[in-house]
């Protein structure tokens, strides 16, 4: 496998970033430890020096310079002793174990860090912390402590830091490569799989590793996407089949009518009649076309940009009122009821059309006459059943618009089918209609992220459009007042 490809993977880059972060972390920890150690050691050294100076100056006060020199000579003979130096007021050394010092150290009293050279050691200079104390009589007493040990400790720590960093980088890089390779292998497998599906059979699906990790979830989503594409493609095919059938039928009629008129018509009246029929037929075709386009648009999600907030209750009442005279003419009583504050975000026009289609259907097929026709003449029509109810209400986070009739209803196994384009059930075939009304209503519901359901109204059909309500705004509720002349009536 090409290493360059491995280096370019996201996983490897992430490992590198982690590596850098842990290196900085390790450096910080070791650095802090080292600095603290140095601090503690120096503090201890200073304390020791202070105690020594206190003791020695006391000895000097009691026994003079001679006693001091004696003590110092005795102490400096012991191994790993401190550093001592006694000088005359002129700076000549009298006793001690320091061979040379930088000049004018003795001028500063107090603590100072300096280089010095021990006697007999011609090697490098050592580092020491010293304190110079001025004794009565002009003598200088210097007490100090070699810092080489601390320095050595710091070196050890520094080395440790470096070594661990090297190991960190080595192990981190290798680990990163290993992890990247593992992930890359799976991604490559998914890619190969996906390419095979794209190039060949869209019904294929990506394989799950079964680990339930994020890659598996990605694969699941890819599969869901493929599923959706297949459904859309199937839909497209279905639409073209539908169009072929249901548009060609009226086109054939249209053509046949014109052809026959040309062949057999003799009087202007006959021609006129044929032309009028042709016009009627083409108007029907236009209607079907418009309905198909509306469905296709709604299913493709067009018209989302034109969506506004509106009250579904108002629209339901509006549409109800539009159809009320038609209902009356047919001897059906249309009962309209709606709650308040049923705010939706969507297309008022499309939702209105969907409701209109449902009411239209209910009035056409939902009357007891239709029930009688469907069940045969033996059943007497139940009196008072000629009612269609149109209602809008809130149900949890959704708004439901319900159109219910007391007609023959739709058998359970037909309910899904009837939502498809151009599907017309047996008892509807004799009546005008294109079989697109319910499909459009369902497409509108889906466009609004809602659903359309057909239910049994016992007896009759109950169509429920369920649409998500618009998020409630914190505004004082406006009392029921329409900007229409309703209040004057």
């Amino acid at each position: 496998m090409a290493l360059g490809k491995l280096f370019r993977t996201t996983v490897f880059k992430i490992s590198l970033a982690y590596l850098a972060i842990s290196a900085i972390g390790a450096g910080l920890v070791l650095g802090t430890v080292g600095w603290n150690m140095k601090h503690v050691i120096e503090e201890q050294v200073a304390q020791t020096i202070d105690t020594n100076i206190a003791g020695l100056s006391e000895q000097y006060a009691q026994g003079g310079i001679r006693r001091l020199v004696n003590i110092i000579q005795r102490r400096t003979r012991r191994p790993s002793a401190g550093l001592y130096l006694v000088t005359t007021p002129a700076g000549e050394p009298i006793a001690g174990n320091i061979a040379s010092l930088p000049p004018d150290i003795l001028e500063h009293t107090g603590f100072i860090e300096t280089d010095y050279q021990p006697p007999g050691d011609t090697g490098g200079k050592h580092r020491a912390l010293v304190r110079v104390f001025a004794l009565d009589g002009g003598f200088h007493l210097l007490v100090g402590h070699d810092l080489e040990e601390g320095e050595r400790l710091r070196h050890i720590l520094g080395d440790a830091l470096l070594t661990s960093l090297v190991w960190l980088v080595v192990i981190g890089t290798l680990g990163g490569l290993w992890v990247a390779r593992r992930v890359l292998n799976r991604v490559d497998a998914i890619n190969a799989n996906a390419q095979a599906i794209v190039a060949g059979d869209l019904s294929g699906r990506l394989h799950l590793a079964g680990t339930g990790d994020e890659l598996d979830r990605l694969v699941q989503n890819f599969n869901a996407m493929l599923e959706r594409i297949s459904i859309l493609l199937a839909g497209l095919k279905e639409v073209s089949d539908d169009i072929a059938h249901d548009l060609k039928t009226p086109l054939t009629r249209l053509r046949g009518g014109v052809e026959q008129a040309l062949r057999t018509a003799k009087s202007p009246e006959e021609y006129r009649g044929a032309l009028e029929k042709a016009l009627e037929e083409s108007d029907r075709l236009i209607q079907i076309f418009d309905a198909l386009l509306s469905i296709a648009r709604a299913e493709a999600g067009a018209g989302r940009e034109g969506m506004t907030e509106f009250d579904a209750g108002f629209v339901a009442r509006d549409v109800g009122e539009l159809y009320e005279p038609v209902a009356e003419e047919r001897g059906v009583s249309l009962v309209i009821s709606s709650g308040t504050g049923l705010t939706l975000h969507g297309s008022r026009e499309l939702v209105g059309q969907a409701i209109a289609n449902l009411v239209d259907n209910a009035l056409k097929y939902g009357s007891p006459d239709a029930a009688k026709e469907a069940r045969g003449p033996s059943l007497s029509p139940s009196p008072g059943a000629a009612t269609v109810e149109l209602s809008a209400r809130r149900s949890g986070g959704a708004i439901e618009v319900i159109v219910a009739d007391h007609g023959p209803g739709i058998a359970e196994n037909d309910r899904q089918r009837v939502l498809n384009r151009f599907v017309r059930l047996e008892n509807a075939r004799s009546r005008p209609g294109s079989g697109l009304g319910l499909s459009l209503a369902a497409a509108v519901a889906r466009l609004h992220n809602g659903s359309l359901q057909l239910e049994d109204n016992e007896p009759g059909l109950r169509v429920v459009i369920r649409l998500p309500a618009a998020p409630v705004r914190r505004e004082p509720e406006v009392p029921l007042a329409l900007p229409s002349p309703e209040k004057v009536a």
Partner: protein, 230 residues
């Protein structure tokens, strides 16, 4: 009825010829140009009562033509003709400065009725009266009252708006879709003859028991309120 000067901007010359002929038969004068650029030039140079503009045109598209005209402060009413007839297309067209929108294919009677309404829009005084009167039928828009020959006729709010629209355009044909659009504010096709039923209800209220009948059905076109006696 006074005649109108109409400019048709349409690249399909056969469709445009039908229109020109049909407008002439209806007693109007119609000119035709085939592309957006020429349409814009003609609309700038001459005075028309209404422009009929196709949306998809060679050189400059229809909506841009309208936009440019409006930018030049030429306020001639424009009817947009388009094969794109869905809700959002209509909204876009009207936003671009169109005054009305008609989807292809259309019935000529529909086009004529709409163009007549548009042409009258720019004539002063129209629709501003507070009382509409047609032969003894009197509609008071402010008081929301309707009387015929002095007798009160109670109307439902929607019936009132329906009659108001018809009387505003008294003497002119109003189509079913125009009524649905202007009285109900819907643009879809309500399969069943809902408008006809509303009209016959209204007719029963304002014409029954009175003479002459004022609310007339114009076959193949729509409806008209007209002083039918003379």
């Amino acid at each position: 009825m006074s005649f109108m000067r109409i400019l048709i901007v349409e690249d399909d010359s056969e469709a445009a010829n039908y229109m020109v002929k049909a407008f002439r038969e209806s007693g109007h004068v119609a000119d035709h140009v085939g592309d957006g650029l020429e349409g814009y030039a003609r609309a700038c140079a001459e005075t028309y009562d209404v422009l009929i503009v196709d949306r998809m045109l060679p050189k400059i598209d229809g909506l841009s033509v309208i936009g440019s005209l409006r930018a030049q402060n030429i306020q001639t009413p424009v009817l947009i003709l388009s094969a794109l007839g869905q809700v959002d297309d209509r909204v876009k067209g009207l936003r671009a400065g169109g005054d009305d929108y008609l989807a292809k294919p259309y019935a000529f009677s529909e086009l004529l009725a709409r163009v007549e309404v548009l042409a009258r829009r720019n004539r002063p005084g129209l629709g501003e009266d507070t009382v509409y009167r047609v032969n003894g039928l009197e509609l008071d828009r402010l008081a929301h009252k309707l009387t015929r020959d002095g007798k009160d006729i109670p109307l439902q709010p929607r019936e009132f708006r329906l009659l108001e629209y018809l009387m505003k355009h008294a003497g002119h044909v109003v189509t079913r879709t125009m009524l649905l659009e202007n009285v109900w504010d819907y643009h879809f096709d309500p399969q069943t003859n809902v408008i006809d039923v509303h009209i016959s209800r209204l007719r029963a209220k304002i014409d029954k028991g009175f003479d002459p009948p004022l609310l007339q059905t114009i076959r193949g076109a729509g409806y008209m309120i007209r002083d039918g006696a003379r």
